[in-house]
């Protein structure tokens, strides 16, 4: 029996497919894709981008090194890709992250064009992250273009990068729910409907949004072969380059000016007693130093103070928060500092990223993308149980199901934040109680350390999961 697992989300391009074997990630290529790979790997831009981290390091492997079974597709060649610490999707990225991913996509289009290579698509899912650096992973997107062809991925680029960025920059509408709601991104028509009349005068709207929406509509029942017509008329690569260069300038110049966010000034606003903050840092620092960690999650990371502490001892950290602006700030800071092992992501723990797409297997839920061996849940539980109405026992069970050790902060009912959360609600949170919490925690974890903070309203716990027969 073959122990090769096909990636269920890799099926759109029939010339190549991602599969897993022996904990490694491979891409099978058919004859066509093999020729394209040979052309790509001989180019200068491919070497440059691979060296600088813009394209995933990839090596061709002998077909005989993989124990294919007769039921596996008859690949002409196999590539092995460097494995990334954590897979993420555009609906988990902040504005600045999608912007940088878009700029990398355009840089690749422009650089490839100079060497006669095109990109057959422009999906945002072709980009992933190494810490705070975007990396292009779908090397099978590149193909040797014939002169006269338009930019095949232009429309998809608009749907997956440009329109989401425009609505957030011009309308302050977060793109993440739209991207999560539609695997193909945002249609021109939808984008247009979201913009106001005065936005028509702003960069990119008239041509990329309005004209494209109308042209698509007007052209829907043509019998003409536009591609052939354009090729005959001499469509050349200078057209693509001019468009891509202008798109690059447009996207680089976009600004998202959000209204004040809930959390990004949380630490600055003094919700924490200064001595509490120092004690918390020490507590997390001690756990971090207790052993080496492979993958740590910091859920409700805010601006990443504790993610950074953990990152000193963890191979990689995924820093998650539901606040768009906090993640944007964290991303920009990590990028400026050159931190390579913290990936900031937007995630609402009470509504985490689900399985999506074809057969609900194309995009994986957050908990299926790598098991953390350490989970931080600091100043989070009151938001989940009281703010999010999640029963205490279910939340603790969810944390247990993640499988890793846990550092959790319990915020007591006397804490000003809890008082604020309860102010306008009927208090039906009998389970929001220190004793209940400790009981639920102790039934699933061994409490290794418990430390009340100086303020007296917060308690830190370090807990190790109790093995069950199932795990």
């Amino acid at each position: 029996m073959s122990d090769i697992a096909l990636e269920p989300g890799s099926f759109r391009d029939r010339t190549a497919r991602v599969f897993y074997h022996d904990g490694k990630i491979f891409r099978g290529l058919n004859d066509t894709a093999l020729k394209e790979w040979q052309a790509l790997s001989a180019t200068g831009f491919y070497s440059r981008f691979t060296t600088s981290g813009g394209i995933i390091p990839t090596e061709q492997r002998a077909l005989s090194s993989i124990p294919f079974s007769p039921s596996d597709p008859p690949w002409a060649a196999v590539l092995e890709h460097e494995k990334l610490p954590f897979v993420s999707y555009p609906y988990e990225w902040s504005f600045e992250m999608l912007r940088d991913a878009a700029l990398l996509q355009l840089d690749l289009v422009i650089a490839a064009l100079e060497e006669g290579i095109g990109l057959k698509d422009a999906s945002a899912y072709n980009l992933q992250w190494k810490g705070a650096s975007p990396v292009f992973v779908d090397v099978a997107s590149f193909y040797k273009r014939t002169e006269g062809e338009p930019w095949v991925g232009y429309r998809q680029f608009c749907q997956m990068f440009l329109y989401p960025l425009l609505v957030q920059a011009y309308r302050d509408v977060p793109f993440q729910p739209w991207m999560r709601g539609n695997i193909d991104g945002m249609d021109a028509e939808v984008c247009l409907n979201m913009l106001s009349g005065r936005d028509y005068l702003r960069g990119g709207v008239l041509a990329h949004v309005y004209l494209q929406a109308k042209a698509q509509k007007a052209y829907n029942s043509t019998t003409r072969d536009v591609r052939a017509d354009l090729s005959k008329a001499g469509f050349d690569k200078r057209i693509i380059k001019a468009n891509a260069v202008r798109l690059r300038a447009l996207i680089a110049g976009l600004e998202w000016k959000p209204k004040q966010s809930t959390w990004s000034d949380y630490l600055k606003c003094g919700h924490y007693d200064a001595s509490d903050a120092a004690q918390k840092r020490d507590f997390v620092g001690d756990v971090a130093a207790s052993r080496a960690w492979n993958l740590a999650w910091d859920i409700g990371c805010n601006v990443g103070v504790f993610s950074r502490i953990i990152a000193q001892r963890a191979t990689s950290v995924v820093a998650m928060d539901l606040d768009y602006q906090a993640i944007d700030k964290l991303y920009l800071a990590l990028k400026a500092e050159g931190v390579t092992n913290i990936l900031p992501l937007i995630l609402n723990v009470t509504d985490p990223s689900p399985n999506l797409g074809w057969r609900n297997l194309e995009r994986k839920r957050i908990t299926e993308r790598g098991q953390p061996d350490l989970v931080l849940a600091l100043a989070l539980i009151h938001h989940v149980v009281i703010g999010g109405n999640i029963p205490m026992a279910e939340f603790v069970q969810w944390l247990r199901d993640l499988g890793g050790e846990l550092v959790i902060e319990f915020v007591t009912r006397q804490d000003p934040m809890v008082v604020t959360l309860l102010r306008n609600k009927d208090d039906h949170y009998a389970d929001y109680d220190e004793q209940v919490f400790e009981r639920e925690l102790a039934s699933r974890f061994t409490i290794a350390k418990r430390q009340p903070l100086g303020s007296g309203t917060r308690i830190m716990y370090h807990a190790r999961p109790i093995s069950t027969s199932a795990s």
């Binding site: 338009p150 041509a207 004209l211 109308k214 698509q216 007007a218 829907n220 029942s221 001019a242 468009n243």
Partner: protein
């Protein structure tokens, strides 16, 4: 030149807006828009196609013409 072509195309798009909304061709409209965004090289192709032809491409669901060679 660029602005003039943009205005003309806008005009023809407006004219053709009343057409029936059927299955969306995934890129024909987008391919034509690329010409407008392609600077001087794009404008040259528009000229080569000829204004009438370019306009017809946007209105093609109404006016089915026999294939004609691009103006040389």
């Amino acid at each position: 030149m660029k602005n003039a072509s943009l205005l003309l195309v806008l005009y023809f798009v407006w004219v053709s807006e009343t057409q029936v909304d059927a299955y969306l061709d995934p890129g024909s409209g987008s391919m034509l828009v690329q010409l407008l965004l392609g600077g001087v090289a794009g404008a040259a192709v528009i000229m080569k196609l000829g204004w009438e032809r370019f306009r017809d491409m946007f209105r093609s669901s109404k006016t089915k013409e026999p294939e004609t060679k691009p103006h040389e």
